[in-house]
Amino acid sequence: MTSVADKLRFEPTALPASLETLRAEVRAFLKEALADVPVVKRSHSWEAYDAEFSAKLGAKGWLGMTLPKQYGGHGRSALERYVVVEESLVAGAPTAFHWVADRQSGPLVVRYGTEEQKKAIVPAITAGKACFAIGMSEPNSGSDLASLRTRAERTATGWKVNGTKIWTSNAHRANYMIALFRTDPDPNKKHAGLSQFLIDLSKTRGITPRTIQNLAGGRNFNEVAFVDAELPPDALLGTEGQGWRQVTEELAFERSGPERYLSCFFLLRKLIDVVKDNASPATLARLGTQVAWAATLRTMSLSIAAKLNAGQDPLLEAAVVKDLGCQFEQALPGLAQELCELEPTLEGHGSEYQQVLGSLIQVAPSFSLRGGTPEILRGIIAKGMGVR
């Protein structure tokens, strides 16, 4: 007599004491490194691009932590990396330069790359000197990723790529892109006709990024045109035709981390400070309900990290936490306005709190778009429960 809830257990995880030592070191480093960064900039955290900061983090040994030592990684545990990542997000560290590389590109290359690819890439990621872009979505393929059409054709000298990627964060300034292309145009091979490629952007002609401004004025993502872009034969990452399976694993890295509930945490911190001295019991109750959510999501997120650390594949759990985390984050700007009648403002105007609110209120819609929409995630959860 089992319950479907038995498949969705988030067993509490206790971090070993050594990780609390690491946490203290990371906190102290971030406090000093970010002392002069304005609060509104810190609220941008993982959208903020700062190559110098990433190199400093690399020098501390806090990037590529889980990658194997033999390739230049640190061979540390997923839980150690987890501590660094959550502390960076909460402190509002500018992580955009190294984020994708550290989170998914590095592990992907280690899992599927050739010896040469691993030796070329891992040390750069570990040093905080490699910025990666993810070439997945296309203008006509968003949630229906497997319908993508950008074509990589074999040539005498390697591969020739034609098509367009979109929403490609940092493509205009990244060093590398890992992209999913169609290598077999047979319409019966929707999923089986896809392959992943590791592209050195500095060495490839025919790739033109055009920056797309987001509604908040930010310039992170791009439309990227591939016009007869020529890739060497060894640009193929993993196995030809296995791109869908590989990209699904990559998305699991993308969906399972603490950024899925912590990208608005700075607003909660500022909100507490704004209301704390004159809060009514009703205000405290609303604020505390949000704190209860934060504590719950931390428990769940850490439990996923422990499962990853134990070599499990918590795909279903990650979808649940991303879906819940997104609800938590998107509710924060509304809660802030309910509890405190201060208008959101643009950068440079109003109080620090108002600027943080103004910034996060504008970017909040993206929380339920990036890395899988709730519609996709709930489909995954339903499937995981045997519903479809």
Binding site: V4, A5, R9, R269, L284, G288, T299, D323, A382, V387
Partner: protein, 350 residues
């Protein structure tokens, strides 16, 4: 889950799975306290998991007892099992032994002035299963500390009342003879906190059972030529429901682990933070757990004949018992205001 937890969960699921089908739950609502089932529950040692081994208990901690509390929610158990579990733990902390029989757990701290050497004076003390209780267990303030009070129920006036789950929540008044007074190294309000923790676990269990029913019904019921769960809107209700169930389960389990590791002294970084978070989250979750599980079922779920209501009526009752989302949210809001914006993350990760 570890072996102890798995063994306890299996034991409780087996017993209540067999004995508490919808027909049996209906009969209990008509006939009152299921004396034979209580005897069987006691015989299997279920209310005594937290009792000292010398007192015939298992002497485990809250994290091992959690599956039992959760299963009491899953099976809509109409018996004071979690109340007895709390009473046994309190007795163990005080070095006391409970008498045999059904305990009546007093949820609120007892004022020092209501206790003398021989008498406990009650005035409309709302007590789960008060009418069935063979003895009372409560915690009274004493000086700076607290004491465990065990008292007889004879001679008390009982104003019978059921909560909307149809479980007895009676008000007791009068002078009760004190059986035992024993110093207790806890705060006088500890029953309120432990009750909040237990109700959180029960909400996790009842929510999981409501989800199971919704999944089963969604697969069986066809409309427009296909099963309900073939519709994306229904799939999303079910997925949403599953996430909410998992969230309550996660924080309630974490609170049990926290209680075992840090205790609940009124000051310092103790398990009060996790317990408050658990009951706040659990009470808030009840709205979605009940609304979505009923929505998937349509009108059949609104009938007495179909047993979803055994779960959802209890969820509505448990949402408010031992403090709702407002009370526990206010506690957490005050904690957040005290530590300030820079202190909240260190508190969560402490």
């Amino acid at each position: 889950m570890n072996e102890t937890q798995q063994m306890l969960e299996d034991t409780v699921n087996r017993l209540f799975g067999d004995r508490l089908g919808w027909d049996q739950l209906t009969a209990i609502e008509e006939q009152g306290f299921p004396t034979a089932l209580w005897a069987e529950t006691v015989e299997q040692g279920i209310p005594k998991v937290l009792a000292d081994e010398a007192a015939g208990g298992m002497g485990v901690g809250w994290s091992d007892a959690y599956p039992v509390l959760r299963a009491c929610g899953r099976h809509a158990v109409p018996l004071p099992v979690v109340e007895a579990t709390i009473a046994e733990w309190l007795a163990r902390q005080a070095g006391a032994t409970l008498p045999a029989g059904v305990p009546g757990l007093l949820p609120r701290a007892i004022a020092a002035s209501a206790v003398s050497a021989t008498t406990l004076t009650l005035s409309n003390a709302r007590t789960p299963w008060g009418r069935n209780a063979d003895f009372l267990v409560g915690v009274a303030a004493k000086g700076e500390g607290a004491e465990l009070i065990i008292a007889a129920t004879s001679g008390l006036a009982v104003a019978a009342e059921d909560n909307i789950g149809r479980d007895p929540r009676d008000s007791l008044s009068g002078d009760a003879s004190v059986i035992t007074r024993q110093a207790l190294p806890l705060a006088p309000d500890c029953v309120h906190w432990l009750g909040a923790l237990a109700r959180s676990a029960q909400i996790a269990g009842a929510g999981a059972a409501a989800l199971d029913l919704a999944l089963k019904y969604g697969a069986e019921r066809s409309q427009f030529g296909k099963p309900l769960s073939g519709f994306q809107a229904i799939q999303h209700y079910l997925a949403d429901l599953a996430g909410v169930v998992a969230s309550v389960d996660a924080i309630a389990m974490a609170a049990c682990v926290g209680l075992d590791q840090r205790g609940m002294a009124p000051s310092g970084r103790n398990a009060r933070f996790e317990i408050a978070a658990a009951k706040c989250r659990a009470s808030e979750a009840v709205e979605k757990l009940t609304r979505l599980s009923h929505q998937v079922h349509g009108a059949i779920g609104f009938t007495y004949e179909y047993g979803l209501h055994f779960l959802t009526r209890r969820l509505w009752a448990w949402r408010a018992e031992f403090g709702g989302a407002g009370e526990w949210g206010e506690y957490l809001g005050r904690v957040a205001a005290d530590v300030g914006g820079d202190g909240i993350w260190p508190l969560i990760t402490a």
